[in-house]
Structures are given as C-alpha cells and as structure tokens.
C-alpha cells in the first residue's frame, strides 16, 4: 500500500475539506431559515399555505438527494433560459432546499412538543398569535431542536459528497481526482473516509455536549 501517493495531494484534500465544510454550513444555515418559515406555514390554519409546505417537505424528503442535484443542475437551467449554473450555485441551492425540508420537520416537532397551555397563557394575556410564537413558543421549541439540528448537520456533511457528481470540488471530488491520476482507489478513499469520520465524530461529540446542556430542560409546563 502506498499512502505517500495520497499524502502528496494533501493540499487538494484540505481544499476539498474546506469546501465540504462551507457547503454544509451554507446548507444548514439557509436550511434553518427555510425550515423555520416552512414549519410555521405547515402549522398555519390557512389550508393552502400548509399544503404548499407539505408538498415541499414531501418532495425533498421523499426523493433521492442525488436525483434532486441532477434535476436542479441539468434540468432547471435550460427551462429558465440559461446554459447552466455554476456547480457551486446548484450545489448550495439544492443542499439548502433539501436541508430546509428536514429542518422544517425538526422545528414542527419542536413546536408541537410545547404544551398547549403555553400558547393559552400567552394569548390570555392579550398577545397575538405572532407574539406568542415569537416570545413564548419558538424560543422553547428552538432549544429542544438543537440536538436534532446537530444530527442534521452531520447527515448533511456526509450527503454533501453527492454534489461531486456535478464536479463540485469538495472532499469527495478531491478523492476522485486523486484516484483518477494515481489509480489508488483503496488508499485514497480510506483517507477520504477518515477525514469525514474525524469531522462527524467531532460534531457528534459537540452535539452530545449540547444534549447534556439542553437535555435537563424544563418540563414544558
């Protein structure tokens, strides 16, 4: 086994790692904003709004991410009259939309886990629905959503490897490039896997720390 043929590409691997992290942060960051609005739409009493939210989450959770990436990168631009989007645009948007769907469900579960007495107490003081959500329900729901959000971050970090199919130069793509030049699939992909593993275990340590901090929470009364 010849690992030195992998390590001479260390700058390429590190560059890929950096892009993987950037993509994941963008996806989960935008996904959190999308997820917040979609979860509120989903819980709206106004039917059409909740239906739109439902269709959105069902589509992105119910179809393969790989299909979504290819559909967005190759399928959408011609319809809009473009030749193509740069890979980083397609990758960022598709991963964000996908993450938004999962995070919407995380927030929905968090909001629904708050005892309805909280909403009643807030409304009985004369607060509007929006005020009650903003000051009472969402802060508590968000706190409970932090551990599953951490898990979503880990899942997205791994799933972002799929955008290598549209030649986005992230970690997985770096690996493919090295294998293409050196024909050392075992050594290279083992190293790539190991880099992913370091990142995911680090984050999962951090998540379980957060679980300890936020786990011994209120009792929702």
């Amino acid at each position: 086994m010849r690992f030195d043929d992998v390590f001479k590409y260390l700058p390429l691997l590190l560059q890929g790692t950096k892009i993987t992290i950037q993509l994941t942060v963008v996806a989960v960051g935008c996904g959190t904003v999308i997820g917040l609005f979609v979860s509120l739409m989903r819980l709206s009493r106004f039917r059409p709004l909740s239906l739109i939210a439902r269709c959105y989450t069902d589509f992105f959770r119910g179809t393969p991410l790989l299909t979504q990436i290819l559909l967005f990168h190759y399928g959408i631009p011609p319809i809009l009259g473009f030749n193509s989007f740069p890979a980083y645009i397609s990758a960022s948007i598709t991963l964000s939309l996908n993450s938004g769907a999962y995070i919407a469900e995380i927030f929905r579960a968090g909001i629904q886990s708050i005892h309805r007495g909280q909403m009643e107490a807030a409304r009985s003081l004369g607060m509007t629905y929006g005020q009650a959500m903003r000051y009472i329900i969402l802060p508590q729901a968000f706190k409970r959503s932090i551990p599953p959000l951490g898990n979503e971050f880990i899942a997205m970090l791994k799933d972002s490897s799929l955008v290598s199919v549209i030649s986005m130069p992230e970690l997985m793509m770096s690996g493919k490039i090295i294998v293409g030049r050196e024909y050392n699939a075992f050594e290279t992909f083992i190293v790539v896997a190991f880099i992913y593993l370091i990142m995911t275990t680090t984050i999962s340590q951090f998540v379980s720390y957060l679980e300890r901090v936020f786990g011994k929470d209120d009792h929702g009364e």
């Binding site: 005892h115 007495g117 909280q118 009643e120 107490a121 807030a122 409304r123 009985s124 003081l125 004369g126 607060m127 509007t128 005020q131 000051y135 009472i136 802060p139 508590q140 706190k143 929470d217 209120d218 009792h219 929702g220 009364e221």
Partner: protein, 240 residues
C-alpha cells in the same frame, strides 16, 4: 361587567354547555362549583374565547366577545386568567414572566415593566424569587407568580380555573390568601374551585353547574345552608 346569554358549546357531538345565562356585576366574586365534567372550566374558557362558543352571546364590559369582528386580544388584555397548571413560561425568570405582557402588549419600556413586575411580585410575597426560573419554585410559588403575571395587565376581571387543584395541600393556603386580598380590593372575579371553605368565606355568589347547566345559584349562606335543587343537595352531601 359580564353578561352571558344562552351560551352553548359542543365538542363534536358532545354538548358540554347547554344554554348558560348569567350576569356578574362589577366587584362581584363568583365561585363556580360542580362535579368534574360539568362544563365549569369550558364555561370559564369561553369567557375569554380560549374556547369558541357554539352559540349564544357573551358581553364583557360592553364588548360582545362572541362577535368575530371584535379584536379578542383587546378583550383579553382586560381579562386576566390563572390556570390549574400555572403555565408559567419556563424559559423566563419570574420577573420576566410578569414583565413580558406589559412590555409587548402594553408597550411599556423595559424599565417600567420591570418596576411594575417587581411591585406585583412583592405583593404576592415573592420579591426574593424574582430572578428564579419557574422550575426552581414550588407549585404554590409558581401559581402566585402566575397571578402576578395576569395582574400585570391591570385587568378589570380575573378568571381562575381551579387554581389550587394541582397544588400540594400545604401550598393551597398561600394561593388562596392572594386571591382573598384581591377580592377585598374589589376585583371582579370568576373562580372555578373545589375549595368550599374559601368559596363560603370570600364569594358573593355561588353557582352550581352540572351537565352543562347552571342548576342553582345564590349567596353562600343560602347555597350551603338551604340548597334547593336535589342535585345540589346530593353534591354537597358528598363533599362537605
């Protein structure tokens, strides 16, 4: 202050309120008693529209609450409510719980709201707990904070939904003391309660509800000494 005309409420096929009419005068303290499932809490929750009435009319301080064109938030600002399970906001300190609605609804400055909140916490005897979170407080203390929170909106009416039912027996007294002092100050109060001693001592009028109707009402003396309705008699004989 409160006028109710022929109020009904259904949950699906279940008829919980079957035509309630009553009147509560300003500064009056009314205690509603009755067996569980008689519709007492539902009736109370209809008064500030936490439950939507199926039919009938509720008029509070000249405003028809049951009219959907009415901004219910304006009515709720004048009607405080205290719940069986306290429902304090667990992510806020006692002080923040009390100060929130004056700030966000009445648009007080943070400073004014906190001065008001502190004075109300002092009044319910919890000034020293102002910066504690609800989980650190006993049930009785939590319920007193909840009363202070409702009073912070300077309501004209206070509704109490079994305020002592979730409390350990030794904490009931401290909550009733606060309610008694409110009654003495002339607050209009409607209380759903099982505390017969308290009802007898503090209330101006007692209403007995069963099966979605007010079956009997009267002053505590009339009510406890000379109940007319057989159901009232049977209920009282079981609990007194």
């Amino acid at each position: 202050m409160i006028t109710v005309n022929n109020l009904t409420k259904r949950f699906g096929k279940l008829e919980v309120l079957r035509g309630i009419s009553c009147h509560v005068a300003q500064k009056e303290v009314v205690v509603i008693i009755g067996p569980s499932g008689s519709g007492k809490s539902t009736f109370l929750r209809c008064l500030n529209r936490l439950e939507e009435a199926t039919s009938g009319e509720i008029i509070i301080d000249g405003i028809t609450v049951t009219d959907h064109k009415v901004d219910i938030n304006l009515v709720r600002q004048e009607v405080g409510m205290v719940f069986q399970r306290f429902n304090l906001f667990p992510h806020m300190t006692a002080l923040q719980n009390v100060a929130l609605a004056p700030m966000k609804v009445r648009k007080y400055s943070k400073k004014d709201a906190e001065v008001l909140a502190m004075s109300l916490l002092t009044r319910v005897g919890l000034a020293d707990k102002a910066h504690q979170y609800p989980e650190k407080l006993s049930g009785g203390q939590q319920q007193r904070v909840a009363i202070a929170r409702a009073l912070a909106m300077r309501p004209k009416i206070m509704l109490f939904d079994e305020p002592t039912s979730a409390l350990d027996p030794e904490m009931v007294g401290e909550v009733l003391d606060v309610m008694r002092s409110l009654a003495l100050e002339g607050m209009t109060m409607v209380i759903v309660s099982h505390e017969m001693g308290f009802a007898r001592e503090v209330s101006d009028r007692i209403m007995f509800m069963d099966d979605g109707l007010i079956l009997e009402e009267g002053t505590p003396e009339e009510f406890f000494q000379n109940p007319q309705n057989p159901r009232t008699q049977s209920f009282l004989s079981k609990i007194l």
